[in-house]
């Protein structure tokens, strides 16, 4: 749809666009590389430069001198700092994040094991945010300045203001402890644990693939509360942005034209205005999805959800720096990657940005 309007709007578009699009692609790639260098420079600084003695941080202060010396050389601390950094980058490019002290496994393996749980949580939370937030935002925009608009605005501001970890606790108290509507912390009841072989690591999918519908229901019952809690912010954000995007469109002249031509109010809102908002919305959704991947840290702690946020937090308390920094890098890369991707999508879909 957008393609036809694109070529219709500017006749010279198809001829001129590709080259400038390649240029902007290169720009995106360049800033991706730069951001990655910045991210690793910071984790490198935190891990190797900031601790007064990185060797002591690894071997402990009771290690004999020869062990100390050995680790000192292993870390390459006798070399200049930029050589150390390049070495660090080399290790990262091979997916080597070091070994976790806590689990005695390579950090990369740990993260791959914990990541699907976070992915599942964040995805369902985003879906909930989209399903509720978009209609709310459209409803508010259509009723601009009247009470539905104010209600949505206040709900949105509350969504921005509430501490998620606290909301999660209150949610557990009400819906799990008092009402018994949902299952408690964790991903599954102990009874169901370990029955389904993890294939994707996303329980809902794994259970559905093997036809274990009891497990599917149980997993969903565990998932619904943390996902709703985590989705609160997304919902508020999406509703607010939908409202402002829709207002921009509804004030345009083509909407007036559609109305004059006798299009129904439903068609004006959903077929004319909303379609033009879609591209912007996708960008926004991409951004919130990325922020949920990191924002799930607190929710995971409250719901004992075995995801990457909990992994980072637990490692932090065990002084497991490799695991903390490895987790930071992986989340950071996902975060930056998704942001860039939604930016790219925006450029692809919107001819004016091209």
């Amino acid at each position: 749809m957008t393609e036809t309007t694109a070529s219709g709007r500017q006749a010279t578009g198809p001829l001129r666009a590709p080259s400038s699009f390649v240029v902007s692609l290169l720009g995106v790639a360049a800033s991706l590389v730069l951001t990655f260098i910045g991210l690793t420079a910071i984790t490198f600084t935190i891990g190797r430069v900031m601790p007064a003695d990185p060797v002591l941080a690894i071997v402990g202060d009771r290690a004999p001198q020869d062990v100390y010396d050995q680790v000192y050389l292993q870390l390459g601390l006798d070399k200049p700092i930029y050589v150390q950094y390049l070495r660090y980058l080399g290790q990262l490019s091979e997916g080597d994040l070091g070994v976790s002290i806590m689990t005695a496994q390579p950090v990369m393996d740990d993260i791959l094991r914990f990541f699907p749980a976070t992915l599942e949580l964040a995805t369902v939370a985003t879906l909930l945010g989209i399903l509720v937030g978009i209609p709310m935002g459209v409803f508010a925009a259509v009723n601009q300045g009247r009470w539905p608009d104010h209600v949505v605005r206040v709900i949105g501001l509350i969504g921005y203001s509430v501490p998620v970890f606290w909301l999660g606790m209150v949610g557990l108290l009400i819906f799990y402890a008092k009402l018994g509507w949902v299952a408690g912390p964790g991903r599954l009841d102990v009874y169901y644990d370990g029955i389904v072989e993890p294939v994707t690591g996303i329980l809902l999918i794994d259970a559905a693939m093997t036809g274990e519908w009891d497990i599917f229901r149980n997993a969903a019952s565990h998932l619904v509360l943390p996902a709703s809690i985590l989705g609160t912010f997304t919902l508020a954000y999406i509703a607010r942005m939908t409202r402002s995007f829709m207002l921009d469109q509804l004030n345009q002249e083509y909407i007036l034209t559609a109305r004059v031509k006798g299009a129904s109010e439903f068609a004006v809102i959903w077929r004319h205005a909303f379609r033009n908002v879609l591209v912007q919305l996708i960008t926004i959704i991409g951004l919130t999805y990325a922020s949920l991947l990191e924002g799930s840290v607190l929710t995971e702690t409250v719901f004992a959800w075995p995801g990457i946020g909990q992994y980072i937090t637990n490692s932090l308390f065990n002084n497991d720096m490799n695991a903390v920094l490895g987790g930071t890098i992986v989340v950071g890369v996902c975060f930056v990657g998704i942001n860039m991707l939604s930016d790219l999508l925006y450029r692809l879909a919107d001819p004016r940005v091209r």
């Binding site: 104010h150 203001s161 501490p163 606790m169 922020s291 937090t313 903390v324 989340v331």
Partner: protein, 302 residues
């Protein structure tokens, strides 16, 4: 002495007689449109209430809420203990009131660090342009692209848990939008005639930046800062909840929730009250910021 009526007339006069009158008039008109907005007024009321409570803490509480009183553990809310007592028998009302000082301390400290850094980087970048601009903006983009809470956690992990380190970590992940704002303002005004006039008069670059460019960024920065306050409070509370921010027995609200967590089911008030306090205060800042944006920044008001 002019009466209230004449003061109002003076403030609303069509042709101001002096620059100070013009400035006061602008403030007054802003206030008029701000005070017509009920949502913004509620926000102002909450924030003013927070400041007042923090200032009056010694006079409106019975203790600093630090002394354990084990005979009085987990006492439900009643006439003497309005919000009940916690697991060590400390009065939760006292702790909430003293905790408001910590909240204010955190947001002020973060603002004091973040605003000057962001302003300087942004203004220099926008005004000077060229290579300097490219380098500084790349740096800003890098910080903008980072996941905030995780990075703050990593910083705290390296520096050690504590209130000041949490503030530092939050500041490091918060300054970049201010640089963006300041740069945008500097770009729009660097070619204006009054800047040219200042240059012709021989005002130094630093002088122009400080006296002419920086003041024009103030309103957007204030709006952004007010809207950011809630995020700062929530991040600080989150770090406190994880045990990485303020350490016990400091009555920081997030840490209070964390300690009260195990009493949630039977003594609900222990973790609930500080949560409500965080919600109310960050809501206050959000409402205030929303209203301020409508007044100070009409471009993005829609």
């Amino acid at each position: 002495m002019p009466g209230v009526g004449t003061l109002r007339a003076w403030l609303l006069a069509e042709a101001p007689g002096s620059s100070s009158q013009a400035r006061l008039q602008r403030v007054y008109l802003g206030w008029l449109s701000f005070s017509r907005n009920p949502i913004a007024m509620i926000g102002l009321f909450i924030v003013a209430g927070l400041v007042l409570v923090a200032a009056l803490a010694p006079w409106i509480t019975g203790s600093e809420g630090l002394q354990p009183e084990l005979s009085n553990r987990l006492h439900p809310p009643d006439g003497t203990h309005w919000f009940g007592t916690d697991e060590l028998g400390r009065d939760i009302y006292d702790r909430i009131v003293w905790g408001s000082r910590i909240t204010l301390y955190i947001v002020s400290l973060v603002s004091i660090i973040v605003v000057p850094i962001g302003l300087i980087i942004g203004i220099v970048s926008g005004y000077i342009g060229g290579v300097v601009d490219s380098i500084l903006m790349r740096l800003t983009d890098i910080f903008l692209a980072f996941p905030r809470l995780i990075l703050a956690m990593a910083f705290v992990a390296a520096l050690g848990p504590g209130l000041e380190n949490a503030v530092l970590a939050i500041a490091l992940t918060t300054w970049s939008p201010y640089a963006r704002i300041a740069r945008a303002e500097a770009l729009t005004i660097r070619n204006s005639e009054f800047i040219l006039a200042a240059q012709v008069q021989g005002v130094s670059t630093a002088g122009i930046l400080l006296r002419h460019v920086a003041p024009l960024c103030t309103s957007s920065v204030i709006v952004r800062l007010t809207l950011d306050m809630a995020g700062i409070i929530l991040t600080a509370a989150g770090l406190g909840f994880l045990g990485l921010g303020a350490q016990p027995p400091t009555p920081e609200w997030g840490a209070m929730i964390s300690l009260g967590r195990q009493y949630l089911i039977d003594q609900w008030w222990v973790p609930t009250v500080p949560g409500v306090a965080i919600l109310v205060v960050s809501l206050g800042f959000n409402l205030l910021g929303d209203g301020l944006r409508d007044v100070l920044d009409p471009k993005s008001g829609k």
